[in-house]
Structure formats: structure tokens, C-alpha cells
Amino acid sequence: MISGMDQVFVLLRLWLVSFLPAAWQPVIGALLSVVAIVCLFPALFALTTVFERKGLARIQNRLGPNRVGPFGLLQPIADGIKSLTKEDIVPLSADAAVHFLAPVLLVVAVFMGFAVLPMGRNMILVDMDAGLLFYFAMSASTELAVFMAGWSSRNKYSLLGAMRAVAQMISYEVPLLLSSVVVVMMTGSLSLTKIVAAQSGFTRGLPHWFIFTPWGFAGFVMYAIATTAETNRSPFDLPEGESELVAGYHTEYSGFKFALFFLGEYLAMFSISGLGATLFLGGWSAPFSFLTWIPSWIWFFSKLMLSIFVFIWMRGTLPRLRQDQLMNFAWKFVLPLCLLNLMVAGLWRFMGDGWLRWVICSVILIGAYTALGWGEMRRGKIGPRSYRYAE
């Protein structure tokens, strides 16, 4: 029962490959997986754009797209045709080669990240020993693409947006890495399949996910903050802040290249949500022991879509931060807590089983969070916004 539906894609691939000579099988098998990834995630992207527009519309008390197809579900096809048929404008003074390479590099680098994500039991393209390192190496390469886009456009808004984006991505990459290192410390492996395997057990019907430990919960919260900033989503969407920078680094992009940027951003969101699910939410494992009969890939994709929903919800709820608030928050609040979390994880590892480590680790983390937050609030660095109205 488990193996049938659960392994349906793996078996399908094996069946398709079995028609070929043995020498070709590994290559064609890998190619099939690549094709599956390259088709699946853009399709998910199309679906997500409708959900995002619909969801934002509900939050803002409007209807959202409802003209094309039933409930506006065919809207992404119309959007796609529109962006394909639009004129591809390259500004006269732009650096044409770099201007062309930037979106391509972005999409390629983002797609590479999917190669190491385990999307279900035995559903991973390359089970690398250093998978997590590979993922972060690829996501670090996207920063350069953003810079290339902003610089090559020869537009002050683009350049400003790109500089903001790169500064923000560099700043939040540090907490992103440090909050993931906690998981590596506990599992002793950089391989994502081993990280999922370490979380797949159950005690009394409840899963061994890392989020259900003090350090895992703190790590997950900081990971979520860092990913929101890393993917330039609201409330950290300063790089493209429409009201101040037009559209940031993709102001000068039109037609298909703009669509590529749009695609790259959403794909980055998918892959980083998938990584978060893998690191903290047990990857493809089921949340309760009596639900293990549901195929593993359904769990992975529902966790992924749940995080996408949270992204959309945050975008509809929170106002944009200011640049100095953003930087202060990263370096003075998230980073110290991440470093402390590393120590707490070490403590947890060496205190052995028992309720004592739960109390001590939680007290340290909550205490540090409260003290740090209170201190920053008092100095007025982080805190509620103050508004000055016209007299």
C-alpha cells in the first residue's frame, strides 16, 4: 500500500527507462528527472501567481482575477502569452550582453538548487554528500545575477534596487546559514536525505521534527525571517519597493526577460521553502504516525505550499521596513540569536535525555530573545514605527 502510490514516480521512471539499452539508462533516467523538475515547478509557479493574486485580493477586500477561465484559473496562461508577445526592449545605453545574461543566470542558478532537494522517498535528483553546501553555493550565485541586472540597465533606480538587494541578501545569508548549521550539528551530515531520515521517527504518534525542540523552533523562526529577506518578499521587499524605486533591478526588463525574473523569484521561493521543510519540518515525512499511508511527495508539496501561503499572507499583512531597520534587525538581533542558538544546540546535544534540557534550553532562548528585544526597543533601534503627520 505504501510502496505503490508512494513510489509511483520512481517506478514510472524505471519503467520508462527499461525500454532503453543498459548503457543509456542512468543518463536518460537523470534527464527524465530533470525534465520533471523543469516542468513541474514552472507549472506550480503559474498556479501560485493566481493564488497569490486571489489571496491578496481577499485580504484587501477585492475579488482578484476572475475573467479568464473558471474562477480566473487560466489567468497565468494569458499572462504568459502576453509576456511572450511583448516587445523585448533593451535600453540604448544598457550593456546588452550582461543585460541578457542576468535573467538566464538567475533562473539557471535557482534551478540547480532543486537538484539536491528530496521531494519524496527516493525522489532526489542527486543525493550529494555535501548537498546543503551545494544548495547554499547555488543560492549565493543568484546575488551576482541580481547585481548584473541592476548594473547593466544603466538606470539609477535599477542600480539602487540592485545594491539594496545585494546588501540585503548578503546580510541575511549569514543568519540563513547559521540557522541551518544547527540542524547539521544535530544530524552530523550535510546530506539532505540523511537530515530527513533523522527526523522520520515517531514517539507516541508524534514526529521527531526538529521544529519541536527549543533550538529547532528558534532556528526555524530565524530561518523563516532570513528566507523572506533572501527572496526579497514583503516585508523585506525594499529592492523592488514599487512606491520608491519603480521596480528595482528589473525596471528595465520587459517581455520574456521580465517573465524569467518573475519565474526565478518564485522558483527561489519554492526551493528555499522546500529546504526549510526538509531541514526543520521533516521533509517528506508525515506529521502523525497514523498518516504515513499518504504518499511522501504529497507531504513534501503540502508543506511547501503551506509556506508559500504564509509568504502571501505576510505580504498582505505587513508594511515594508526601512533600510536601516532592515540592516539593524539582521546584524544586531537575528545574528546574535543565531550564534546563541548554536551554543544552545551544543548544550542540548550533550545534556542527554530528560526534561531538564528542555527547561534550560528554552529558558536561555526566551531570556535572550526578551533581553535583546527589550534592549533594542529601549535604544529605539528596533520598535514600533513613529509617524510624523503634516500639521
Binding site: 555535501a130 549565493a140 550565485s141 546575488e143 551576482l144
Partner: protein, 166 residues
């Protein structure tokens, strides 16, 4: 030698050459990242997976970004009027050519004693980690101190002078 090696070597050397020859400084920095990526792929070709990914993460993700930031902060993207090469370029070129001649002569001269194709070593990340905290623990600690010192130093050096005087 394999076909892959020649492609990667050509890519790396072309990236390096472009980084040193192009007029526009930002183009130089982008060519430099091509050279870095080529080197990372060469590392992977040498079965050093961990070093290759570390190379991408550190060089393309951090050093290249730092370089382009520095270029933009110093208005370096404007090409200077009086050429991009120094007055003493001929001497520099001769020195570099001499160095290459000596190195190449040494490598070619020792081809016979150099080891031939060996078995592919299998290195897991676990082994690297164990080595880092056992045999190489002192270098690791020293690197940690060095990085901290460099970070503080870089921040102090790049800070505004005026704020210090006030």
C-alpha cells in the same frame, strides 16, 4: 587528459585573461567570477567536491560581490582617460612572462617524476569534518581568530573618518 579538462582549463584561463585585459572594471569583476567558476569546476573534476562548493560559496557568493561593491563605491566603473595600464606595464609583463617561463620549465622538466593517474580517492564530508577537529584543529582555531580580526579590521578601516574625530 580528458576533453572536460581542456574545456574547463580554457574557460578558466579565458576568464582570468579577460579579468586582466578588459577596460571596464565591472566587466573585469564579472570575468573574474567566470574564472572562479571555472576553478570550482576544475576542483570538482579533481574529485574535491567540498572544496569546489566552498569555492563557489566564498568566491562567487562573497568575494565577487565585495569586489563589485568596492568598484561602485569608488566610482571605478568609469574608464579613465589615460589608459588602464600603468606606466611601467612593460616591466610588469616581462616579469610575469619570466615567472611563467620558470614555472613552466620546472613543470615540464619534472614530468617524468610526477605521479601518474591514481585511484579516485573517496572523501566524505564526515572525514573532512573529523580531520578539521582532530588533526587540523589548531589551524582551524587560528583561521577563526584571523577571520574575526579581519572582520573587525575591515570595518574599522572602511569606517568614516569624521565619525572618529567627533
Amino acid at each position: 587528459m580528458s576533453f572536460v579538462f581542456y574545456i574547463l582549463a580554457a574557460l578558466t584561463v579565458a576568464g582570468g585573461l579577460a579579468a586582466m585585459l578588459l577596460k571596464n572594471t565591472v566587466h573585469c569583476a564579472l570575468a573574474l567570477t567566470v574564472a572562479f567558476a571555472g576553478l570550482a569546476l576544475l576542483f570538482l573534476n579533481l574529485d574535491a567536491q567540498f572544496a569546489g562548493f566552498a569555492q563557489i560559496l566564498v568566491y562567487i557568493g562573497a568575494v565577487a560581490i565585495l569586489v563589485v561593491f568596492a568598484i561602485l563605491l569608488t566610482r571605478g566603473s568609469e574608464t579613465p582617460r589615460d589608459g588602464v595600464f600603468s606606466r611601467t606595464w612593460l616591466a610588469g609583463l616581462l616579469i610575469a612572462a619570466g615567472v611563467f617561463a620558470v614555472l613552466g620549465w620546472a613543470v615540464i622538466g619534472s614530468v617524468r617524476v610526477l605521479p601518474h593517474e591514481t585511484a579516485v580517492p573517496t572523501v566524505t564530508v564526515l572525514q573532512i569534518g573529523n580531520a578539521l577537529v582532530s588533526r587540523y584543529v589548531l589551524p582551524l582555531e587560528i583561521v577563526a581568530v584571523l577571520l574575526t580580526a579581519a572582520m573587525i579590521g575591515a570595518v574599522i578601516v572602511a569606517m568614516h573618518e569624521k565619525e572618529g574625530q567627533k
